[in-house]
């Protein structure tokens, strides 16, 4: 090859390679150059100017951050929005006020309901601590007046689970799977909204979660909704005197971290449905 042709080829390479590189490997080249720049910065500052950085405790659960929602479900040393018991109260205005307390101006009742909601719902933590939780806290409340003029208070009581959750770190190709099920009732009437029912329902929900953990290696009782339904007067007329008009419907939400090549959301939902309602 003559000298002229060699020069021409070199010229083409010099001109063409960067253009080809930027078009086909642009992102990688950017990372490569950034890495070089960062290593240069670290080298300078680390060698002369910076004092040794304070030791940052290593986050042993950092691996959970790779999957959205995984930490909120499986972390065991804090209350998170990923695990709570939803509680519900339906009150008349008289029940909202303390005994003997004068009724305020009607324009203030919404404020009264909102301001009293946390203190009204905090005692439900006793049911949670008795059954599924080691620590319990009111994390959110909201109130509104329903069509019957009663005040409905809903709250989320976050908790740290008492039961072991299982080891999610051993799961390969893991994905979070969620499924819900209305817990079964006996008879035609929903159970009464009282502490005994609530603790029974929470215990039952935890039992199902324990069975799922035995099957999949982990399970989180991510949510239990204790929804209050009020019987109509016409319903009560057919029932024995003194029947509690407030009945409880409980829905449990289960979360597992499972191999996505083995189990998908539909399959998990079917397993939960069969487990809770085997008939």
């Amino acid at each position: 090859m003559s000298g002229g042709k060699i020069s021409f080829v070199i010229f083409l390479l010099i001109l063409g390679l960067p253009i080809a590189g930027l078009n086909y490997l642009g992102a990688d080249i950017t990372k490569w150059t950034s890495a070089i720049a960062e290593s240069g910065i670290t080298g300078v500052s680390g060698s002369e100017t910076e004092t040794p950085a304070a030791e940052i405790p290593e986050d042993s659960l950092a691996w959970m951050d790779a999957v959205p929602g995984l930490r909120a479900s499986f972390v065991t040393d804090e209350i998170t929005p990923g695990r709570y018991v939803g509680v519900h109260e339906i009150l008349t205005t008289e029940e909202l006020l303390n005994a003997g307390e004068a009724q305020p101006d009607s324009a203030l009742l919404e404020l009264y309901a909102a301001a009293r909601a946390p203190a009204r719902l905090a005692p439900y933590c006793a049911d949670i601590l008795e059954t599924v939780g080691l620590v319990c806290d009111v994390i959110r409340t909201e109130t509104f007046q329903n069509r019957q003029g009663k005040w409905e208070i809903r709250g989320q009581l976050g908790y740290i689970p008492a039961a072991p959750l299982g080891d999610a770190s051993v799961v390969e190709n893991g994905q979070l799977l969620n499924a819900r099920a209305v817990l079964p009732q006996t008879g035609d009437l929903l159970p009464p909204n009282d502490p005994a029912t609530r603790t029974a329902m929470l215990t039952q929900a935890q039992d199902f979660c324990d069975q799922l953990r035995a099957q999949f290696g982990n399970c989180v009782l991510s949510r239990v909704n204790l929804e209050v339904h009020e019987l109509w007067i016409t319903d009560l007329e057919a029932l024995p005197a003194g029947t509690n008009p407030q009945r409880l419907e409980t829905t449990a939400y289960f979360t597992v971290f499972a191999d996505q090549t083995v189990l998908d959301a539909t399959g998990f939902a079917e397993i939960v449905a069969t487990l809770v309602n085997p008939g």
């Binding site: 307390e101 203030l108 009293r116 620590v135 009111v138």
Partner: protein, 431 residues
Amino acid sequence: MSDDRRQQDFASRLNRIAHERGEEPPMPTDPPRRETSDFNYNAAQERHPVRNTLIWMIVLAGLGTGGYFGWKALPPDFVALVSGSDAESDDLALGPENILETDTMSLEGPIVTSPLVAQADGAPLDLNLVVSNASLTNGETQITDLIPIVRNARCTLRAPSDAEKVMGVRIENGGMTAPIHALSNAQLAAQLLENVRAVTQDGEDYANDNRLGGSKSSVDVFLTDTSTPIYLVLQNMGPGVIWNLHAAPDVTVVHVALIGSDFSGVANKQTDTTIEAVLVGDFVPPHQYGADDALRDCMVRPWRNPQPDWIGARKATAGDLSYQNQMYSYTKGYEAYNRWYTGAFGVDAGLNTVSLRDAAHVLLGPVPANPFDYSEMAGQPLHMMPTDHMFTGSQASRETAVAQLQNSLLTAAIGGDVGALNPPAMERNSQ
């Protein structure tokens, strides 16, 4: 001509030989012109059309690519300057996310801060061109008295006569702090409900010192039109405004119509000036999107007509759907308001009106030949729309009074201490 030195040497040798033989040396002739390669010595130059075309294509492609990305990297204002393109195409090129609010232009229109004076046409003026000896209103200004203005309960404002000129100001917020706090029981409850929800729903700590209701702003209105008596329409959408009137010599203000979403007032009115007040909430419900689109009687919510230079309007032009909806809603709201305004005052809502989002000082009328004396609010009574709780005095004393009012009601609403809004966590072993 060749630069080959050996050829020249050979020719001179032939000449010397011919000279020694006594012959006539041959006349030097130029050798035939021949293109040679730049690379190979004395080799004939070859033509490379394909190679050269490729080279030029690569060079031009490189230049084009670099030029394109370089152009995109230039500051938008520089691009606009160089290209000379119009605002609309600029906004389209910028994209809505790059159209940002400035100190003087908000999403909902201009902001004119003290000491600049907003006027209907033209750029804001310096305060010194309009008034002299200005002693601006602030939170410490001491007023003498509160004189109630009766709220118009039937949406029947006095109609201007033919001899009166309707002039107006339409803003959202005043630019100075007014020396009064005023709030109704409903506003007090709404403020506390907001404070409570910040704790129970958003997880914030309860802090009653920065969530006080009832504060008002103030605006200076300079009136310089001496041609006819003025019927003044003062309108605002935000928290209440105390309008401080400054009439130049020979100006007569016969009537003031206050239209506002909150409790407002007037200071330094002329002795014979009459005042009426309309509270928006007495006639239209709290605003919801689209609610004001329909024309209706007594649609007194004072919408402002969106202008192309509003940042919100520019974002809409640039394709932002939410701002397109918002500007559409504003436009329809203004149409409905203008219909009521025209019926009530006999003129278009835009006539002789200064309209902007926020202002501290507004000029209605021509720029005075000489600045006239500023009418300070200190030592004057306030003509004020009355409400359940009104506090005057120093800024600190008013804030303390409002905080006490709020705390006492909140304590009653909770039925205990504020700490009950966020009960402590419970542990199993503490049972």
